[in-house]
């Protein structure tokens, strides 16, 4: 699988789990869980796409992790900056910490398993 596509898939899957984990860390958000999961999935896919495109240009696990972490942190910050519509509360730590770590995982996966253009299959 090429790196951007792998980034999209891994980012999306991790985004789903990351969104669902909100039920554990902040159970009061249960009524909005569908929106959280969709948002988290889109965020994960965006991080995956960024990490994947960087991985096409640069072959370095360390850089992949750093890019994934940074992209995850930035997008998670944008999400966390929006307050909970019901309570008006911001969940900076709850969104940014898992978001950045999930981004790092996506960055690692794209570097480790993604196929560069022109690389032989298998």
């Amino acid at each position: 699988m090429n790196k951007p596509l792998l980034g999209l898939v891994v980012g999306g899957v991790l985004g789903i789990f990351d969104g669902l984990s909100a039920l554990l860390s902040a159970p009061e958000v249960a009524p909005q869980i569908m929106g959280i999961v969709i948002g988290s999935t889109v965020k994960g896919m965006l991080v995956g796409a960024i990490a994947g495109f960087v991985a096409r240009k640069v072959s370095s696990v360390a850089i992949g992790i750093a890019v994934g972490l940074a992209a995850g942190l930035l997008l998670a910050w944008l999400v966390a900056a929006m307050p909970d519509p019901a309570t008006g509360k911001h969940y900076y730590w709850e969104i940014m910490l898992p978001g950045s770590l999930a981004g790092a995982l996506v960055g690692w996966a794209t570097q480790r398993y993604g196929r560069r253009p022109g690389e032989a299959r298998g």
Partner: protein, 353 residues
């Protein structure tokens, strides 16, 4: 009449042994190396204006058998066109009848000297894989080297590897030089030497069947054994037949009867050596050829698998070892997942407080 001094006599003797290159396109340079079969000189090729290496049959052993052997060596190398095998440019004869061949002049260090400058295990293994390539190539063309040892491997300034000294190489179709059954008569080998006589090769790196003079049984697996000994040397600085090897240490000569080299040293001689690598060495150095890797490619593949963190065929794993290898191979991902889970637990605890 005034008598010549010893020093003057030695000098005369040296000059008399120097090859007379008149009538050839080469100008003699300095002596580069000396082996049991010939002497290697640097020389300038006047036609192509480049420096080459000339291997010339040593004057003191210029018998028809040695001359034929040098010609054979040149012919074998000429048929093996591979970046890891020194190319032969020309073959000729000196006015005194001695045969020479011209080849690329190799710069670099011998593996026994270079090994200490390769700092990491991974780099040593990758270097070993580069040694395997030309040997596997030669095997694919029916040629067995039969004298693989660190002294016959040159490592260039850019890490390129050249397998040298094919003087005792054998083509699969060639009739054996001797028959098993007759008592073998090994000749001591000098540092650069390839012993010749009934038993051909260098004892410390020689497969047991080769050491016993069982010529009919010597096949590509004899080179697998020698490569296993080279791998052991790269990993531990030791060879199967000796306790410590270094470039400064005089090379052991073999004056005794033909016998297989001593068994693989115990694990304690190299406490840091991973067990899987030890198993690879053990399989390559199996006394019985049937117990070894069938081909050099198989050996190289196992080393490659070790480098990739995959399971090696020589080392059966239980669940614990498999888990450890998996953890070692995916430690970054495991660290990230553990960090994620720990962070989630911390957030959960904080939320509940």
């Amino acid at each position: 009449m005034k008598e010549l001094g010893d020093q003057a006599l030695d000098h005369l003797r040296e000059v008399a042994q120097e090859p007379d290159l008149s009538g050839t396109r080469y100008e003699l340079g300095e002596e580069v190396a000396r082996g049991g079969m010939g002497v290697v000189y640097s020389a300038r090729d006047r036609e192509l204006e480049r420096v080459v290496a000339l291997k010339v049959v040593a004057a003191e052993i210029a018998d028809p058998e040695t001359v034929a052997r040098l010609r054979r060596e040149a012919r074998i190398i000429a048929h093996l066109e591979h970046p890891g095998i020194v190319p032969v440019h020309d073959v000729g004869a000196l006015p005194d009848g001695r045969v020479f061949y011209a080849m690329k002049l190799v710069t670099g260090k011998r593996l026994d000297a270079q090994a200490r400058e390769v700092p990491t295990l991974g780099e040593r293994l990758r270097l070993f894989l580069r040694i395997c390539e030309p040997v596997a190539f030669a095997h694919a063309h029916g040629v067995i080297h039969r004298d693989l040892k660190p002294q016959n491997v040159m490592v260039g300034p850019f890490g390129e590897v050249l397998v040298m000294d094919w003087g005792v190489a054998k083509h699969r179709e060639e009739p054996p030089a001797s028959r098993s059954g007759a008592p073998p008569t090994p000749r001591p080998a000098s540092d650069h030497d390839t012993a010749h006589g009934t038993v051909l090769g260098t004892p410390a790196y020689m497969a047991p069947e080769q050491a016993r003079g069982e010529v009919d049984r010597v096949d590509a697996r004899a080179d697998v054994y020698s490569l296993g000994a080279i791998l052991l040397f790269l990993l531990t600085g030791q060879t199967p037949g000796r306790t410590k090897a270094s470039p400064e240490e005089p090379t052991r000569t073999w004056a005794g009867p033909a016998r297989p080299p001593a068994a693989l040293p115990s694990r304690r001689l190299a406490p840091g050596l991973p067990r899987a690598l030890e198993a690879i060495c053990g399989k390559a150095l199996a006394p019985d050829p049937d117990g070894r890797y069938a081909t050099v490619d198989d050996l190289a593949a196992d080393v490659g698998r070790f480098l990739e963190g995959e399971r090696v065929s020589a080392y059966p794993e239980n669940a614990w070892r498999k888990a450890r290898r998996f953890a070692g191979r995916h430690r970054t991902a495991i660290a990230l997942v553990v960090a994620y889970l720990v962070m989630r637990i911390v957030l959960l605890v904080v939320a509940r407080v």
